[in-house]
């Protein structure tokens, strides 16, 4: 009888730690490290140069949380090189941002989830008239 009681007590004690684990780990989502702040600043500065290209439809939001040159004809020939450089720099920042947020939360494996969350939210927050890519790769105007 005593042994059964002892086992029950041990079993209950053993269950305690992992029951309390889940809510504590899921409660907060961290995104305020110096690296993330720097990325936001750099992307904010670049946005003033990109905005006219979103409006003209030259650049669209891709379904994987990046941006792409959708219609090169909407960009004057002289400006194409600088627009391409802007797109490359922006995508580098975005990729780093998703990785940094995952790392800030100590879950590097969340990078994919964070990317898909962002890709949906970029499109939701896009202004009317901007172009975005659907899951099948086709472009659509908002």
């Amino acid at each position: 009888m005593q042994i059964i009681m002892l086992r029950l007590v041990i079993l209950i004690l053993c269950c305690l730690p992992w029951v309390s684990y889940a809510p504590a780990s899921a409660a907060d989502f961290e995104a305020s490290t110096p690296a993330i702040a720097k990325l936001k600043q750099s992307m904010h500065q670049r946005h003033s140069q990109l905005i006219s290209h979103y409006n003209s439809g030259a650049i669209g939001l891709t379904h994987d949380g990046l941006i792409a040159l959708r219609d090169a004809n909407a960009v004057p020939l002289a400006a194409r090189q600088s627009v391409n450089a802007l797109i490359i720099a922006e995508n580098q920042d975005r990729n780093t941002l998703y990785r940094e947020i995952a790392r800030a939360n100590n879950h590097s494996e969340w990078e994919g989830n964070i990317r898909s969350t962002f890709s949906q939210r970029w499109i939701t927050s896009a202004k009317p008239g901007w172009w975005y890519q659907q899951a099948d790769g086709s472009w659509r105007r908002k």
Partner: protein, 61 residues
């Protein structure tokens, strides 16, 4: 006596295994991530005009 120790050890092993499973498969907090994403997007896409308007609104409520 040995039997009790054995069951104790097996219970501890199960506990460690369960704990590690929970830790590894902890679900992605989608709602919290969306909020963070919205905040970052708002900051990144905020134009200077919008920032000025907000500033003015704050000064003249």
């Amino acid at each position: 006596m040995i039997k009790t120790y054995l069951s104790l050890i097996s219970l501890l092993t199960i506990n460690i295994l369960l704990s590690s499973c929970v830790t590894i498969n902890i679900y992605f907090p989608a709602a919290a991530a969306e909020k963070v994403a919205d905040k970052i997007i708002e900051e990144v896409w905020q134009t200077d005009e919008e920032a000025d308007t907000e500033e003015t609104d704050k000064n003249n409520p």
